[in-house]
Amino acid sequence: MPWVSNWGRYPKIKAEISTPTFKNESISLIQSKNQIINRGLGRSYGDASLGKEILSTVKLNNIIEFNKQKGSIRCEAGVSLEKILNFIVPKGWFLPVTPGTKFITVGGAIASNIHGKNHHKEGCFSDHLIDFDIILEDGQLLHCSRTENADLFEASCGGLGLTGMIVTARFYLKPIETTFIRQTTLCTKGLEEVFYVFEKNQHANYSVAWIDCLQKGKKLGKGVMLLGEHALSDQLPSKIKKPFQLHTSPKVNLPILFFDQVLNPWSVKTYNHLYYKNKKKEKKERILHYNSYFYPLDNFKNWNKFYGKKGLLQYQFVLPIANSFQGLKLILKKIEKSGLDPYLAVLKLMGSQRELMAFPMKGYTLALDFPIKKGVFKLLEELDAMVHDLGGRIYLAKDARMSAHWLLKGYPLIYEFMNIVQKYNPSMGFRSHLGERLGIFKDYQEKMILNV
């Protein structure tokens, strides 16, 4: 059995991986296993798609139907966003919601209910999802939409793959006039200004802020805010001849892990300094390709390897709007005091989200990348307490280490969710390492026994 890990390269688990090509193969595979978990391209950071038995969806990667009038697409769960972009972009369509990489699958987009830089305006992936077909633990195939098996539909959005295996899904696309983004760059001196700029620019379709975490004191939260709109055809400079241009393939591939020392506080400090300086010099408004705006890191095929052998932890949390400013200040100070510097920090204002297991809430989310080293786990445990005391929660698709203790606090509807899981999968046959770690199955059964 091979060792498997996801994007953070932690944890590593010995697993049996099966890769069915056809729907019927998937059905008989699921029927033959006591427990299994679905996995796409392994771009979730932690252990959400890890388990002893893994069903890889990567060969279920066909685009099935495209409706030009409605602007909808139907495809198998293992289709990557990249493949969809290759297909739809030349026709004048774009993804309604996209994360910071195009190398994820549609199944993963649903199971993690991904959000993007437009969450405050256009919600999560689920808000554009029309329907899907899902295989349950006994091999039954169910069709789910907002009106048909609606409870399972909702639970599966952000359901971390625990509700079943999605085989095909249909969702709406977004029409575009060009493949370019009109970007506005705003450099901010401190946290206060970042918040001010976010709130002032809520009308912007896309917004995100890069924060320099290695700054201290008054400069804490110094950063660069990037706003974006899809450029209209008459807004393109004359040197761009073709309004529809596809992305290019990754340019750099890091084959092996010898980069332990490449990212260190000094190199990151230098990089941050240069990045900020560069952005400050840059024209405030400019037109750039969607690949540079949404997927800058996709140009490095294995950028996670920059973080060295031990891997990285991405810590993404959201705080309710009322506590966001004070809370973020406290948390950033706490990190500063620990001496453990996150190498990348991305801040974003989110809107509210309705699903049972939704991560977003009206407030600010911060994503931090920590290389794994001594003290990081302890620091993040302390941050867990702060985040949850402030009424926030952790994004489970990125999590690899949170203790079960905090689950109910962050996700108060977890039991309602588990009721639906058990209604359709009585033996809870879809089990992940994450589910076990967070005590989802154990605690749930204990609670049920108490209720009896």
Binding site: T21, N62, I64, F87
Partner: protein
């Protein structure tokens, strides 16, 4: 663009090859057992590459059905023979049914259908047949000589046919893939550096079609490896555990 018939279209290698031909604007006929499994794949190719893709039921073992099948698709210009059955050497050593099936699919079935198309192509003085054989057919070894002997037979058959068809402008190509990571070889332990992916093989097949190559080892390194393996004297080879 010429129309391509793919026999045994459900395998990883053949699907990768189908995509390669689709990318280059060829219309496709995908033939296999339980071919309805390929409906989504059919949709995918025809949507993305705006080509015509037809599904056709085909069973290599049912030789009686071959003439009628071939008549139906005799207008195709290229036939790709992908179907194959690896089977279990271990089981086949004791079980005639398994042995027979390995020979029947890989050799008899292949010869049956290729022979019919070769006749059609000869009459038209045009056409290309690409047979996917195997490096296992280059030298018999204990771990897979039943499959290997069937593939060896197929390779020699294609070679003779190539010789016979040369004056008629009909080209025959023999593809010999090395270790490949596919469904068929799932569970086999291959050295990772020598193991190719399906799309590498697909590229080589497309190139063999374009350049009318005769015998192609893919990845190319296998030409060298098999050259070395075939040069070992039999007196020494028989003592090896391979």
């Amino acid at each position: 663009m010429s129309k391509i018939l793919i026999l045994g279209a459900t395998s990883d290698m053949s699907r990768a090859t189908a995509e390669k031909f689709a990318q280059n604007n060829h219309d496709l006929i995908l033939a296999a057992r339980n071919v309805s499994r390929l409906t989504h794949f059919q949709n995918d190719l025809s949507l993305r590459f705006e080509i015509e893709v037809i599904l056709a039921e085909f069973d290599a073992e049912n030789k009686k059905s071959h003439p009628e099948f071939a008549r139906k698709f005799k207008e195709v210009e290229v036939v790709l023979v992908f179907f194959g059955y690896l089977g279990s050497q271990h089981l086949a050593e004791k079980n005639w049914k398994e042995t027979h099936r390995i020979i029947d699919v890989n050799y008899v079935g292949a010869v049956s259908i290729v022979g019919i198309f070769a006749q059609y192509f000869k009459e038209r003085s045009q056409g290309i047949i690409i047979g996917i054989s195997s490096i296992a057919g280059d030298r018999g070894k204990q771990s897979n000589y039943i499959y290997g002997s069937a593939k060896a037979g197929f390779s020699i058959y294609l070679q003779g046919l190539r010789n016979r068809m040369y004056p008629y402008n009909v080209h025959i190509a023999t593809i010999k893939p090395g270790f490949t990571k596919t469904k068929m070889t799932e569970g086999s332990k291959f050295p990772s550096l020598l193991t190719a992916k399906s799309h590498t093989i697909a590229k080589a097949i497309y190139k063999a079609y374009r350049k009318k190559r005769n015998i192609v080892y893919t990845p190319t390194i296998w030409k060298l490896i098999m050259g070395i393996i075939c040069s070992i004297p039999e007196s020494a080879f028989k003592k090896l555990k391979m």
